[in-house]
């Protein structure tokens, strides 16, 4: 019967560990993106054109 050398078992454990960490990282970034988009404020940069929503309303003046 084939039996892995202890060194290979250790390597395998380490490789699977890194795989798990990388996978968790991807899931985390995906989750963060979803949450940030859902909870983030309206993201609109000034692009040198005055849009109605950038002009203060009369009520606020």
């Amino acid at each position: 019967m084939h039996q892995d050398h202890e060194l290979h078992t250790r390597r395998k454990g380490r490789n699977f560990g890194i795989l798990g960490v990388l996978f968790a990282f991807v899931v985390l970034i995906f989750g963060l993106t979803v949450v940030k988009i859902q909870t983030g404020t309206y993201a609109e940069a000034f692009d040198h054109v005055v849009r109605p929503e950038l002009v203060p309303s009369e009520a606020s003046e």
Partner: protein, 314 residues
């Protein structure tokens, strides 16, 4: 040394590049990480306002990773000391399981990742304080103070005190007095906690040439200093209890916690080495154990006060 002994020494241990995942995990000092996670979580929970649970949990993760990075960098730099002391001889680097360069690479990588990701997850204020904490622990404490002054425990403790403020900043983006009071609480707690430990644990700091207070100023002076820091701790605890993170419940709990702490520190102050030998350092052990209860209970009551909402706080 004979050729035979050389072989015996090297065959027992794996080559440094073949470290297991557990060895790398040990490099991150999991116990230090757990304290950071707990206090940062409290800072986050008691801060006004709130964050999305996913953002909060992820921020805590990056704070933990930052603490782990500090641990790895500390172990990399302290490998020469760890090799000398019995308590630390079996750590991943001195035992030869992890190469120093691997520990350095892991520490630097995790430090950068944790700070950048905390900035992206929460805000730059929290990320900046995390970066400062890592810098403080690695450069100011490990590289400088630890080997040069008996103030190492006192000032080094500041690094361990920052996590609740980072947690707070992750929610609010600022660091008001309440956050600093939580920092102050851990800062004042650290010296009596560690000195009580140093008084009953037989360590070989002398052999490693680390200027611990027990070595440089003697055990009597260590007991005296522990008492004064315990008094300072009670003052900070009272101030925190009277601040907006405290309340009647916190005040009552703080009175009990500090009362017992001061009693034990006072008893410890008036003991001699023969007293300690006679009862197996019972009082020193008692103060050390109570210090663990103290920190957990004090931070837990902050959370309880915040959880009570309109019924809690002042």
């Amino acid at each position: 040394m004979t050729d035979l002994s050389l072989h015996a020494a090297t065959e027992d241990r794996p080559a440094p590049d073949e470290a297991s995942l557990r060895d790398f995990w040990q490099l991150l000092k999991p116990r230090l990480m757990s304290l950071s996670v707990f206090t940062a979580l409290v800072g986050m929970l008691v801060a006004p306002g709130g964050v999305h649970p996913f953002i909060g949990a992820t921020s805590i993760l990056w704070i933990a990773v930052g603490a782990g990075a500090s641990g790895a960098l500390n172990m990399w730099f302290d490998a020469d000391i760890d090799r000398v002391m019995k308590r630390t001889r079996n750590r991943p680097i001195p035992s030869g399981r992890v190469a120093p360069s691997s520990a350095l690479a892991l520490g630097l990588f995790l430090a950068i990742v944790s700070v950048v990701m905390l900035d992206l997850t929460a805000n730059w204020v929290a990320a900046a304080w995390l970066a400062f904490t890592i810098f403080f622990y690695v450069v100011i404490y490990s590289m400088w103070l630890k080997r040069t002054t008996s103030w190492n425990t006192v000032i080094g403790g500041l690094a361990g005190a920052f996590p609740p403020m980072i947690g707070w900043a992750a929610v609010t983006g600022n660091t008001p007095i309440e956050a600093w009071l939580m920092v102050g609480l851990i800062f004042m707690w650290t010296p009596p906690h560690f000195w009580a430990l140093a008084l009953f644990v037989k360590t070989d700091y002398h052999a490693a040439r680390i200027p611990m207070l027990t070595v440089t100023h003697g055990r009597a002076e260590t007991r005296r200093q522990a008492w004064f820091w315990s008094l300072g701790l009670a003052v900070i605890s009272l101030l925190a209890s009277l601040s907006s993170i405290g309340g009647p419940m916190t005040l009552v709990v703080a009175f009990v916690l500090n009362g017992v702490f001061l009693k034990r520190a006072w008893d410890m102050r008036h003991r001699t080495d023969p007293d300690c030998e006679a009862d197996g350092h019972a009082v020193e052990r008692g103060l050390f154990k109570w210090s663990l209860v103290y920190l957990f209970a004090h931070f837990a009551v902050f959370v309880a006060e915040a959880a009570l909402g309109p019924y809690g706080g002042w």
